[in-house]
Structure formats: structure tokens, C-alpha cells
Amino acid sequence: MTSASPADARGRTPRRRDSRRGDSIFFNLSRGAGVLLLVVMAAIAGFLTYRSALALGKNEGNFLTTFEWTPDAAKPVFGIAVLTFGTLVSALIAMIIAVPIAVGIALFISHYAPRRIAQPFAYLVDLLAAVPSIVYGLWGVLFLVPHMGGLTSWMDQYLGWTYIFSQSSSGVPPRNLFTVGILLAIMVLPIITAVTREVFRQVPRMHEEAALALGATRWEMIRTAVLPFGRPGIISASMLGLGRALGETIAVATVLSTNSKLTLHLLDPGGGTFAENIALKFNEAQPLGRDALMASGLVLFVITLLVNGAARVIIARRKEYSGAAA
């Protein structure tokens, strides 16, 4: 719907031949803003590519499959296997936890809660988004991690057969990808909630009333009228959240116990993510180390582009079905 409105606006204003000066100034300004964005994006991409190329030429390991990150050693070896795995897995856990909860909160605010409660509640959720990530990180390491022990040993005991939830040794502080995923879920919750809530509010009253008039209960009305209409909104909200989860830096760096091992045991401490690795290694990195970090930054840049692209494709495909044109 948002993408449709500018087109409408342009369509409605017929172009005059002798356009006034104000129009041409505004036209140039807005075109300039558009060009500036492209220039900045190109500059970032070009810079990252150039620096990556410098580093990749000196890498003695395979950039894609190597686990270690030791670009400043006598024999520079660095690779993104662990980082890619950690980034994707922690973001995936965050999404699995956050999306259903966020949709639930959004439905509660938009369709269940009395107005008196809904407003302050929505405000409270928005407030979560305003908390700086370092505060989440400190809360995570000083509160969440010490209190996760019970849950992780429970999961180890009853879900250990799944392999991914079995712990290699007990008594280890759970500074693992699973805890990071939970923390990220809390961090992306407000973004997803806020966007989905707004989409649910846009559901045409007629649809809802039609469903109710046909004898649907409130849950059936939500299932048949609200959720289908809101699906693209939920997807794009999740992608926004996913973007934040993929790029989250300091909270992950504070909570995760990093190492260069790739393990499917999500409850064992270890692993790493792109952003966390850059933040932790940059301070003391030598020139080659810095370029290597740039190369990993480029990969994250590409992954984020792919994720956003995928989201666009999904939304475009769902458009006609969702009734967004209404």
C-alpha cells in the first residue's frame, strides 16, 4: 500500500510545461537525495570490496570454509564458516521465538485489549525499542545468563535426544547461541510488534464485520479476515527484525562466549557472529586484520541484501492474494 501511494500522487498531478521554479528546485532536490543515497551505497560497497580484495589475496586458508580467524598471525588464516553459522542460527532462533509472540501482542493490542489498556501497552512495547543494545547486553550477561541455567539443563535432560539441545558438560554458564537467540528475540520484538500492529489496524472494518456477520467467532474472524490481510505486513516486519538480529553487535559480543568452533550443540558456549567478530577484533587489529574484517563485513552486507530481496519477492507474490489493494 505504501508503495502504491507515491505513484497515485504522481499520476494525479499533471506535468506542466512551464513548471514553476519551486517545482524544478524541489524536483532537483529530491532527485539529488535519491542520487546521494545511491552514491553512498556504492561508496560503501566499493570500499568494502576494495579492502576485502586486499585481504583475500593474502589469506592462506579458504575464506568460506575456514573456522579460525587469525589474520594477523605470521601465516594469515581467516574464514567465515563459524561466523555465518552463528549469525544465521542466532537470528533464526530469535525469529522463531519473536515472530509468534509479536503477532500475539499485536493482535492483543489491535483486537482484544480495551482501548484503555491497549494504548499504554503499545507505548510500553515501543519503549523496548528505545533501550540501547549495550543495556540489553549487560542485562543479558548479568541477569539472563545466570538465570538460564535451569532452562538449559532442563532442555538438556528432556530434549537432549534432538542432538542440538544436548550439552557436552554441565555447570558451564550458558553463554551460547541459544541464549543469544533469546536476547535477540527480545530486542527485535518491539520492531515486529509495532509494524504488525499498524498493519492489523489497517484491516478494513468491512472485512471484519462481514466475517462476524457470517457467524464467525472472534478467532475465526481473525483467522479469515485479519491474518490473511496482514500477512505481507507480518513478513516485512519480520524482515526488519531479522535485519536487526543479523546485524546486532554489542549485545552479542557481551553475552556470547566466542571461539572458533562450529558446533550444532546450541547449548554449548562458542561460535560467533559477523558483527560481534568485527566489534571484538577491530580495536587491536593490524592492517591485514582490519581488511579481513572488512571482507567479513562485505559478506554480512550481501547476506542482508539477500534477506531483504527475499522478503520483497515474498511480499510481491502475496500481494494480490492478501487484498492489500482494498
Binding site: 587469525t70 598471525a73 605470521a74 553463554r175 557481551t254 571461539n259 558456549p269 571484538l280 577484533k281 580495536n283
Partner: protein
């Protein structure tokens, strides 16, 4: 309270004045206590010889000495209002680079200048070269959190094996042999290291390499290469993790061990008894260190494998890097005045109070001689 009456207003003002005087003097006495006891709060200010011509003193480098510089800056700034010091951290490498570009009057550095850096420095130090002045001593505590164990003794090879996951239980025979009579639990050791690259890790791994008896196979490096264990970000993160994790062991600088009230292990070095991690024992190691710098350069070689009595081996020193000759004329007086204060007994005691190791007298004297000779 309505103060229309002139007399009561005057009374009120008097009362406020009295209260503020009282609280001011209270502050004064408070400040005196931690300053090492050697002198009252006002006295060091009197002893600092300010430069005749003040100005802006720029410096950059090692973040390991930033807290020390902050302490000195406060005391020196109080005494010499004409001179302002700006120390931007950014790491030793950045500090040396800026020094060699002539951007800063001195650089703080964790390591001594390399030969190539000395060669470059000759272009900024007209007629001279960059030299290393040992200034801020420190030591690394081996901190542990084991229930029921207050005192622990370790040695180089044991530490190397613990941090490389070759020893994984607290009641392992190697540890038990060093701690007779101590009831060590049969629990897993949670070895914790720094997750980011750090000078502390480099010092520890250098020590493990020298004193580990071959058990530490990795080169001394800022990044961690040992097997297993957990990691945490920054000294503060490590200290917090040790505090909340049972059966853990890690390494932090003395100030973090003190401020977090963590137990520090004593190190069995081959001396008659294990050496505790105290500033005095660190100073003994510094006093025994060999000066390897040439001429005016006072770069130290600290013997990690020292067996001297009461010498704590995990000791380090960071340097101030200046030109021996050819310092900029407009900042030279302020530079000499500031460094004269920092190497003085007052300056060293002041940082001793915040967890650094004051330089031993003899070494401080040598540094002072070089500072006096700066041109």
C-alpha cells in the same frame, strides 16, 4: 520558609556558608586518606614543579595506562593550571604511529619501540630518536572462584595446561600437588579468557610460553589460541564472569581483581615459597628486570621465568615514548614537568593506590635522569 525578615535571611546565608565549609573540609580529609599516606592532599600539588610556560600537551596510545594517566592528569592539572594534558587512548600502535608523525608530545605504549619504529622516529626527533621510558608498572592476577578455596597456588606449567584444557578438573594431581591440605572439588575447571584481542592476553601467553615448561605450544599473541574454555569481553566482562561462575579461573590486571574482590592465586616460581600477586612483589620483578634499551632508551626485559624471592612473574611495564633530543621546543618544558611528576614518588604512589605497580626506586631514578636530560 519565608525569608522576608532581613535578619533571618542573614542567618540562613550564614548557615549555608557554615555547612558548605564543613562539607568542603570533610571532602578534603576524605581525599587525603587514599593518596598513599605519604603526604596530605595539598602537599603533592606543592611538590609538582610546573613548567614556566604552560600549554597544550598532546599524548596518545596504550589504553592499559589510561587510568594511570587520568589519575596523574587530575593531580597535575590541579597544581599546574597553565598546562592541559590530552591523552587519547586508541591503543599502543596508534600512539606510536602518531608519535612518529609528530602529532603528539609523547606516546604510551605496552611494548618497546621496534628498530624500524626507532628509525622512523629520527625524522621527528631532530638530532635524536624515540626512547622508551618505563613509567606504568602493572601485574596480571590469576583470579579464581572455587567454593571453599581461598588460597590457591599454581605454577607456569599448570596454568598452561589449565588454559589449554589439558587439565580439566580442579582436583587434578598437578593442582593438588601444589596445594597440599586444600580441599579441591572434583568439579570441571571453567577457564575463562578474553574474547577480544588484548595486551593482557599477550602478556599472559608470553608468560605461559616462557614459564610453561613447554606445555604452552602457541606463540605470544593478543588473540587467544588456547583450546576450550569460555570467553568474555573486556577485563570487566571477565571479572564479572569469574564472579558469577563457580569453579572458574581467569586472568585480569590487579586493579580488576582488587575492585571485584576476587581471590588471586599465588605462583610457585621456584622461590622458597609461592609468590602472592601484590604490587610489592611486582616491583621486585621490575627491579630485577634487565635494561635492554641502548643509550637513553630504558626498554626492559622482564624475566617471566624468574626464581627470585618475592618476585611475581606475571608483571609488565608500559612505556612513555619521547624523543631523547629534538622534542618540540614549545612543549618540552611541560613534557619534562609532567613526566618528572609521574616518575616521582608521589606520582607512582598515586597510581599504586589504583592497582598499578609503583616503579622500584632505582629504576625510577634512572628514568628521572633521562627525563632531566630530555632536550
Amino acid at each position: 520558609m519565608n525569608l522576608r525578615n532581613g535578619r533571618s535571611k542573614a542567618l540562613a546565608i550564614g548557615a549555608v556558608a557554615l555547612v558548605s565549609t564543613l562539607s568542603l573540609s570533610a571532602c578534603g580529609t576524605d581525599d587525603n586518606t587514599p593518596s598513599g599516606g605519604s603526604s596530605s592532599g595539598a602537599a603533592p600539588a606543592a611538590k609538582i614543579a610546573c613548567a614556566d610556560k604552560g600549554g597544550q600537551l598532546l599524548a596518545a596510545g596504550s589504553t592499559a595506562q589510561t587510568p594511570a594517566i587520568e589519575v596523574w592528569k587530575a593531580a597535575y592539572g590541579n597544581a599546574c593550571t597553565g598546562t592541559s594534558l590530552t591523552y587519547s587512548g586508541g591503543g599502543s600502535g596508534a600512539g606510536v604511529t602518531q608519535f612518529n608523525q609528530g602529532k603528539v608530545a609523547f606516546a604510551g605504549s605496552d611494548g618497546a619501540l621496534k628498530q624500524s619504529e626507532i628509525d622512523t622516529s629520527k625524522t621527528v626527533c631532530t638530532g635524536g630518536q624515540g626512547i622508551d621510558l618505563p613509567m606504568v608498572g602493572g601485574l596480571i592476577s590469576i583470579v579464581f572462584n572455587v567454593e571453599g578455596v581461598d588460597k590457591l597456588v599454581v605454577d607456569g606449567p599448570t596454568l598452561a595446561k589449565i588454559f589449554d584444557s589439558q587439565i580439566t578438573k580442579w582436583n587434578a594431581p598437578e593442582i593438588a600437588a601444589l596445594n597440599p591440605g586444600v580441599n579441591l572439588p572434583a568439579a570441571d575447571i571453567q577457564a575463562i579468557h578474553r574474547s577480544e584481542d588484548s595486551g593482557t592476553t599477550q602478556n599472559l601467553t608470553a608468560y605461559l610460553g616462557k614459564a610453561g615448561g613447554g606445555a604452552w605450544k602457541y606463540p605470544a599473541a593478543k588473540s587467544w589460541s588456547g583450546q576450550g574454555g569460555q570467553s568474555a569481553n573486556g577485563s570487566a566482562g571477565v571479572a564479572a564472569l569469574v564472579k558469577q561462575t563457580k569453579n572458574s579461573i581467569s586472568y585480569v590486571e590487579l586493579s580488576y581483581a582488587q575492585s571485584n574482590k576476587l581471590n588471586s592465586a599465588a605462583i610457585a616460581t621456584g622461590a622458597s615459597k609461592p609468590v602472592e600477586a601484590t604490587a610489592a612483589n611486582g616491583a621486585t620483578t621490575l627491579a630485577n628486570a634487565k635494561i635492554v634499551g641502548k643509550g637513553a632508551d630504558l626498554a626492559l626485559d622482564i624475566d617471566y621465568a624468574t626464581k627470585a624471592e618475592g618476585a611475581y612473574p606475571l608483571t609488565l611495564v608500559t612505556y612513555e615514548i619521547v624523543c631523547d633530543k629534538g622534542n618540540k621546543a614549545d612543549t618540552l618544558p611541560a613534557l619534562k614537568s609532567f613526566l618528572t611528576y609521574t616518575v616521582s614518588d608521589e606520582g607512582q604512589q598515586a597510581i599504586g593506590a589504583v592497582g598499578y605497580v609503583p616503579l622500584p626506586k632505582e629504576l625510577a631514578g634512572k628514568v628521572k635522569t633521562q627525563i632531566d636530560a630530555l632536550a
